[in-house]
Amino acid sequence: PQGLSGARLQPLCVRSLSLTSSRNALESPPARADSTFKVTMVPGDGVGPELMTAVKEVFKAGDVPVEFEEFHLSEVQNMASEEKLNEVLGSMKNNRVAIKGKIHTPMEYKGELASYEMRLRRKLDLFANVVHVNSLPGYSTRHNNLDLVIIREQTEGEYSSLEHESVAGVVECLKIITREKSRRIAKFAFDYATKKGRSKVTAVHKANIMKLGDGLFLQSCAEVAELYPKIKYENIIIDNCCMQLVQNPYQFDVLVMPNLYGNIIDNLAAGLVGGAGVVPGESYSAEYAVFETGARHPFAQAVGRNIANPTAMLLSAANMLLVLSPQNQCVSVCVSLCVCVSQVRTRDLGGYSTTGDFVRAVVANLRHRPVY
């Protein structure tokens, strides 16, 4: 971990370091005189709003100079429209950084094949989704001390939203793979690995069956790998990858893959360290960064019951702070978080604490932090 020394709990935050300072493409938002950062916030559906409240409370307690611009965009709550979407995009263009919950995609086919979540991704060209799979200190699962990074291409592949019923009773769904986007995500993965000092990148594919599609993806990864001789490059077939993840996840370091496999592996890996409530993630484009949870679920059955685990969202918010202003605030937030995780357990981790309990514990910790 660069720069920050101290409790070994801190690396949890540092490892999740976004790459603003080191990626030429993404520059930090301009520092203001009063150094308050404006961040777009889209609470989304399900427990999203509750998690956003948690973030706001923790930030307030930590005296974090961030101002949130909230937009309520939701497909299931009938709060979705072109204007709303454009408002969000406009706000993003100014602020460049956002934090969001999951915008739930209803299953009913209302005439629009692409969900709002997908459209947001495409319009902002958030091509890279990075999920940090780190074991929580103090919480043991079947596989401890995990440290994986999962990089997923999230604008093409199986989520092309190109479907049609060619003959009655026969539906075709197109999966699109392009060399350009495959190269782009591969380069992102190798850049990331280089900057973070990771040793290996593994491409996940199914090129033995989808010879042209995934074959192209694999070829692109191999081509990019040659430009990074210091990083080891391997590839593995998706079904074998899933099997290896449950038997021996330690053999992996950074994983890069197309859209659908990314969805599967994100969730699988999140399950390995404790579930959707503990894994942070973010999405990047060349100009924007959106912070969210790693495994994206609205978790509608928890709404109003105060049981959702805010850890993932809070960790992601801490990562966002690192992007905005790498100062001590992030450290404090992080440390408080980590300490709390080992003591205050929400339902998903086997405890009985509520979301509120957890947030209060973090806030209390923050208030008593040493002032630098």
């Binding site: 989808m210 694999l218 899933c242 449950v246 699988l268 390995l272």
Partner: protein, 365 residues
């Protein structure tokens, strides 16, 4: 005991499979079974199974056939006609691993076999093996995967240089057929619930169609509970608590991934059996691991997967006594831990492992 649960499960599985095929009278003589040894370690483990069956005096006559893709009239890839003939006659097959070259070349042999015999259902019961410990205990689920269409249609095009499209095909008929099989299976094996796994929120038309068919079929099977779950939710929950799942039914790609995931939970492909059910009474049982070219010919392979699939086959044929004998011998050997192949944690050779099982089988006489 997980071992007994495993055995009773397998017998239930095979009871179900059997009841769905037309009644056949097996002659009191030898029953012919087509055996396809396969590539890599295939020949070694096939001969191991044949040896064990001999030791158990199973009334089976093996007809060995090879399947290498050949170009038929009209330029279409197909399996050799001798292999097809043999399978059509015997209706039962046992298959070792077949090589699938990556990226270009002829289509996967496994896919070809499936298309030829319309093997529409892949059934993989995953039950924790007593004596072979993994971090996941008490796993007892069955994955039923639609095996003919979906993402593995093999239809791909290069639109322009650098842009490729792969077509995923979902049809009403195939979806209905696999859903019906899943529910019948659940009913015949006293399984409580069937869960449809899908991604209909993203692939609204295709997976939406699959899901609709499952829902329709569920209406006719009110005694079996029907639930639906997103693929990512299933993955998330499966690795945290696999005991929550019972019978899972899904389209091709998800089935491929999930069935391998579940195999990983119980110990890997080296110990997982699998059966493929076809539309006209054909059933091919296979080991689902790869050809393992790195250990081929070195007498290091583990024949357990092929053996357990062969046991599934025996039950399908009604030879329950022999099935039980061989299965017990196999499990006892694994539980004993004295003679285990490398992947099971020991350092015995394949031939030694096989000999040990043969010995146990003969001792049971």
């Amino acid at each position: 005991m997980a071992g007994n649960a495993w055995r009773s499960t397998v017998s239930r599985v095979m009871g179900a499979v059997k009841s769905q095929t037309q009644p056949r009278t097996f002659s009191r003589g030898m029953q012919t079974v087509t055996i396809i040894p396969g590539d890599g370690i295939g020949p070694e483990i096939s001969s191991a199974v044949i040896k064990i069956f001999e030791a158990a005096k199973v009334p089976i006559q093996w007809e060995e056939r090879n399947v290498t893709a050949i170009k038929g009239p009209g330029g279409k890839w197909m399996i050799p006609p001798e292999a097809k003939e043999s399978m059509d006659k015997s209706k039962i097959g046992l298959k070792g691993p077949l090589k699938t070259p990556i990226a270009a070349g002829h289509p996967s042999m496994n896919l070809l076999l499936r298309k030829t015999f319309d093997l529409y259902a892949n059934v993989r019961p995953c039950v924790s093996i007593e004596g072979y410990k993994t971090p996941y205990t008490d796993v007892d689920l069955v994955t039923i995967r639609e095996n003919t269409e979906g993402e593995y249609s093999g239809i791909e095009h290069v639109i322009v240089d650098g842009v490729v499209q792969s077509i995923k095909l979902i049809t009403e008929d195939a979806s209905r057929r696999i859903a019906e099989y899943a529910f019948e299976y659940a009913r015949n094996n006293q399984r409580a619930s069937v869960t449809a796994v899908h991604k209909a929120n993203i692939m609204r038309m295709s997976d939406g169609l699959f899901l609709r068919k499952c829902r329709e079929v569920a209406e006719n099977f009110k005694d079996v509970k029907f639930t639906e779950m997103y693929l990512d939710t299933v993955c998330l929950n499966m690795v945290q608590d696999p005991t929550k799942f019972d019978v899972l039914v899904m389209p091709n790609l998800y089935g491929d991934i999930l069935s391998d995931l579940c195999a990983g939970l119980i110990g890997g492909l080296g110990v997982t059996p699998s059966g493929n059910i076809g539309a006209n009474g054909v059933a091919i049982f296979e080991s689902v691991h790869g050809t393992a070219p790195d250990i081929a010919g070195k007498d290091m392979a583990n024949p357990t997967a092929l053996l357990l699939s062969a046991v599934m086959m025996l039950r399908h044929m009604g030879l329950h006594g022999h099935a039980k004998k061989i299965e017990t011998a196999c499990f006892d050997t694994i539980r004993d831990k004295k003679v285990l192949t490398k992947d099971l944690g020991g350092n015995s050779k394949c031939s030694e492992f096989t000999a040990e099982i043969c010995r146990r089988v003969q001792d049971m006489e």
